[in-house]
């Protein structure tokens, strides 16, 4: 018993399960207790359950699908841009450009939307491009640090095997770090997912999870908001899980 309170202690599988179970029960109990009485902080489980049903009837699945589609489009475009910039950043002339793009992540979102609004009129397209601009800066930052963390020995190894500089780029950075790219996307996914919902609720288009949140806000429907939060959390976690699974399945050597 003392063991589970000792730092760095290794514990068995069963003990670990028990610990997790007790935490879950604790949270559940806290929820029940805090949702009782007149002025409750959280909606009761029944209210949340009702929220789920309402959402489902309003076509929750379609909205989830719509958000996922937006997310996928934005990620694909953003990763293409960021990868191109990052790979080219190994060329001295391009390096400052890549660094600058990475710095642009300090730009406020509103400024970006203002300028994009001048060019793009369709709300859905607008959402995609706001996300793309936003994500590219973050992805570029992570990808640049991925490249700079490659040890000199790896480049030297390729060079000593008569690779010319372009081959070094191809073998060591592009092919050799494919798995890291997936990991970079996964690491940035949390921000992207959060931004996606925010962007959807600011630039309201026909659907998406952000649109649902906006709706729920209006009615001050607690149960519904919590239900929606749970949905968004779980969809996000599933993408995270899938990406991690893909990386491990496709790249056996990937031990990050």
């Amino acid at each position: 018993m003392k063991k589970i309170f000792t730092p760095f202690e290794n514990i068995g599988k069963n003990s670990r399960l028990l610990i997790i179970l007790s935490w879950v029960i604790l949270v559940a109990v806290f929820w029940f207790v805090s949702s009782m009485g007149e002025r409750h902080l959280f909606p009761s489980p029944e209210q949340v359950g009702r929220g789920f049903r309402e959402l489902y009837n309003e076509g929750l699945m379609v909205h989830v699908g719509s958000s996922l589609w937006l997310c996928l489009k934005a990620i694909l475009i953003a990763i293409t841009i960021s990868l191109t910039i990052t790979y080219l950043s190994t060329i001295p002339v391009v390096m400052p450009v890549a660094r600058a793009i990475s710095k642009l992540r300090y730009l406020p979102l509103t400024g970006i939307t203002f300028y994009l609004a001048i060019i793009i009129s369709n709300a859905r397209t607008m959402q995609v491009w706001v996300l793309v601009v936003f994500m590219s800066t973050y992805l570029t930052t992570s990808l640049l640090s991925m490249v700079s963390s490659i040890e000199q020995e790896e480049f030297d190894h390729a060079r000593s095997l008569q690779c010319n500089r372009w081959e070094v780029l191809w073998e060591v950075v592009i092919k050799g770090r494919m798995d890291h790219v997936i990991e970079v996307i996964r690491q940035n996914l949390a921000i992207v997912w959060m931004m996606l919902v925010t962007v959807e609720s600011i630039l309201v288009a026909a659907g998406g999870l952000g649109f649902l949140i906006k709706n729920s806000d209006k009615f001050m429907n607690h149960g519904r908001i919590i239900a929606l939060q749970i949905v968004i959390l779980f969809v996000g976690l599933s993408i995270d899980f899938i990406l991690d699974y893909l990386r491990k399945a496709f790249f056996r050597y990937s031990k990050i």
């Binding site: 040890e151 020995e153 790896e154 190894h157 000593s160 095997l161 690779c163 010319n164 092919k175 798995d179």
Partner: protein
Amino acid sequence: MDYQMQNTLLYVENLSVAYGEKVVIKDVSFVEKDVTREGSVTGQVIAVVGRSGRGKSTLFRALTGLIKPTTGKILIADVATGVENDAKEVHEGDVGFVDQKYTLFRNKTIYQALMFALRHKDFSKEEKHNTITKYLQEWGLEKAKDQYPCELSGGQRQRTAIIEQILCSGHYMVLDEPFSGLDIGNIEDVKKAFSLITSLHEFNTIIYSTHDIELAVELADSIYVIGYPTIDGKTADYGTIVKHVDMKERKLAWKEYGVEHLEVVKEIKAAMLTS
């Protein structure tokens, strides 16, 4: 043990390397010539010893053309021109290099890595396959051939790195501490590889560093000690050649390890301790 000196194979003059402001090695000059012996093909085995941080790896990175020297030049024999005794400045890729950490491509299995090392050779896919299989057998890597570097032991990685360079490089091969982290069996394998490489072509030259002075004295026919020189009674803080032992001259090269070799070991250790 008669021998002759022929073509110059390695010419290093006034070499210095600095990382930024920090001069790591300076005033390094030496010449190594092709050694020939009646009745046998004799390559060159050159050992570089010296205490940690004295600049052995830095010297090797310069010799392999991986870093530009700050001053001085490094010439190697240019065999492509067909002109006798032609020389050229060393360029990356000219000299095979196995670094201290046995770096490999993290995304290639042993087999794929060796195939890659053979990519410029113009023989058929099947011949390449046979060559690789032969090496894998000889070096005890058959079972591990489809494993990635992260799934290999240190010794397996190192042997892979050495084979890669044997398959890819020309006459020159530089190995940074090839004997560290190997068991006695693997050490024998590397020794065998050395004698195999040097028996293949007159020009074949192996340059290696080691902290095991006995192994330097046993295998090499020329030994350089890198250390901090003493100038006007004060120890400088850059590495240079503080001692050169020519085992050929002393008639100790290509001979069974014996009492005379032990004397040389002592001599070298003494030189290392004061630099």
